[in-house]
Amino acid sequence: MPAVTETIDAVQSVTHSTYKYGFETDIDMDFAPKGLNEDIVRFISAKKGEPEWLLEWRLKAFALWKTMQEPRWAAVKFPPIDYQDAYYYAAPKKKDGPKSLDEVDPELLRTYEKLGIPLKEQAILAGVEGAGESPAEGRMPVAVDAVFDSVSVATTFKDRLEKEGIIFCSISEAVRNHPELVRQYLGSVVPQGDNFYAALNSAVFTDGSFVYIPKGVRCPMELSTYFRINAKSTGQFERTLIIADAGAHVSYLEGCTAPMRDENQLHAAVVELIALDDATIKYSTVQNWYPGDENGKGGIYNFVTKRGACRGARSKISWTQVETGSAITWKYPSCILQGDDSVGEFYSVAITNNWQQADTGTKMFHIGKNTRSTIISKGISAGQGQNTYRGLVKISPKATNARNFTQCDSLLIGDKCGAHTVPYIENRCMTAKVEHEATTSRIAEDQLFYCRQRGLSEEDAVGLIVNGFCREVLKELPMEFAVEAQKLLQISLEGSVG
């Protein structure tokens, strides 16, 4: 449900709200010309009515970006990207969407059907022109109606959050309404010059989410774009900033189980999390961007920088990700464990089917005393897919009694795919304990036959076995997300056996 509503929320904001927020300048162009230069960065900043300090911040990022090279160490292959041959600011209204569902790739529709998405929503997801412009009738879940029709229900959520002092809004709004918080924390975990894609994002990001949970507050609901009232669609260069003040607690959901078509091939998001003393942030992602067709044509390049800082003592940051989409995934959600007794966790399922490539993993920096980290990574490769776990566990000399446990399991389906595990361990502390376990296995013919003899179809059998393989990660997801993720795993692997 969150997936569907989130998407509608997104489309809703694209079709309705484009001009509602943030366009306080008198520039009336809808898009910036192709290419990337200082003027474009100024244009974006002006479009969004940003204060001078943020423009300077963006320009610094752009200057750094110009001096940087694309990272090439990941085990992924793709043709050179011409960064000058792209638009960095465009009104998100699509010009030439399909006119009706008849023009949409039947494969995509079949997948929607399997996910149980009603026709109306299928049209919205597939980007059919005009599909998002009227509220859907009949079968919509109640909460969707809330987004579409009932301002009062939407406001209830907002009121509830405001009562607790929680700030949950788009990052553009946060820049306007809470500049002191944004200025203090933006770039404090992922600096502008951190890496090529993060620098690009810092220069040209258009929107994203902002969350602040005040001291001692336990956020009363799972936060997701689902509730992100007034927020714009997730863009090509999304920027997310989440701050949990001392003793605060928040669970944030990102993503969508329905495959989304997107005109932008390159996605370079940045997510920064900050947890102060005794705070906990749980960040869950289901990523299902368009992976390209079965011949490896098209598909999203998902080059994301996600990092959390456990600044305070006893703070905790937990990343859970289910990565099934994108042609290429380059992503390493990481934790900087600065506070004493702080905890970092990374639970990941990454699937590559057909020609998909994933190079994903995590980095755990142990700086404070008694810091602990857990890494559970499940990679599934099918078709010609290539799946790499790349992880770094770094323990500084002061991180006495630091503890890490890493488990990387790979599952192969078929004989043309690949799984690779690249764990880096740098331990500079005598009292630290670091454990690493890795396995590689194959879905065996006898397992499939066993299931089919008990009446399961081949696809259901693969789904069951894969879900069993991923169980330790899936159980970390919030309930309703987990159910969708299970379905999604199975669909992502369709046609991979036999």
Partner: protein, 247 residues
């Protein structure tokens, strides 16, 4: 009724079944005995549709349906159950989840309504009690960390839940101590009735002390070379398979 006529099959180009003729009328339990390498397991896999076995001739029908034209899961839905000689482990897949998924797949195939978690649990507990199995077997991963005896009992539990009309037991007795053997036999005997038939494949006569067959067939070198009543099994136990070959 299971009817096999002139069935021949090869594995990797080698002929294993060389013309099997066999009829198991509904309501009867037949035993197939034979030495190692006679084609016993091949017969069970060919009937249940495992890949890697090439049917080169003959036919096999079950209640008039052409078994050999069906997918393994279609055969399961038609009521065919194979108790595996080596039950397979499915790590991370809970036994209860697996059993319910299988049961509902078969119920769907039969056009019956699916059971929800509560209905299933009630049914599973009943069946487990009847087989004196501990309830925690439902919570564990499918066959993961099970002892040999537990795996075979889990097969019998599946059979009891899926309620097949034809059960093929492929050397279910191998590696079982006498107590486990009795539980397996009780499971099969409890299903005995006018709508249930079974093909019990075994190397030894021992199991047939507990599951008394209506007919016994001797499979040697890909053919059924002798058939008779339960006394044939005892005779074999006494004089060995060589006596049959000589006959």
């Amino acid at each position: 009724m299971l009817k096999i006529e002139g069935l021949t099959a090869e594995v990797e180009g080698k002929e294993i079944l060389k013309g099997i003729d066999l009829e198991v009328p509904t309501g009867e339990i037949h035993a197939i005995m034979g030495p190692n390498g006679s084609g016993k397991s091949t017969l069970s896999y060919v009937l249940s549709g495992r890949e890697g076995y090439e049917i080169t001739g003959g036919s096999a029908t079950f209640n008039g349906q052409d078994l050999l034209a069906m997918e393994p899961e279609e055969r399961a839905a038609a009521g065919l159950f194979l108790a595996f000689q080596y039950p397979v482990e499915l790590p991370g897949v809970g036994n209860a989840n697996f059993l319910r998924t299988a049961l509902n797949a078969i119920r769907r195939g039969k056009g019956e309504s699916e059971l929800d978690a509560m209905q299933f649990l009630k049914l599973a507990r009943e069946r487990m009690k009847a087989l004196s199995m501990p309830e925690d077997m439902l919570k564990r991963g499918v066959n993961v960390g099970f002892s040999g005896g537990e795996k075979k009992r889990n097969e019998v539990l599946q059979m009891a839940l899926l309620n097949p009309s034809l059960a093929i037991l492929d050397e279910t007795d191998s590696g079982l101590d006498i107590d486990a053997l009795k539980i397996v036999a009780e499971g099969v005997n409890a299903m005995r009735g006018p709508n249930f038939s079974s093909l019990v494949i075994t190397h030894y006569q021992r199991l047939l002390d507990y599951i008394v067959p209506d007919r016994v067939h001797v499979l040697m070198n890909g053919r059924i070379v002798q058939s008779g009543g339960p006394e044939l099994a005892k005779q074999l136990e006494a004089s060995g398979y060589n006596s049959v070959q000589a006959a």
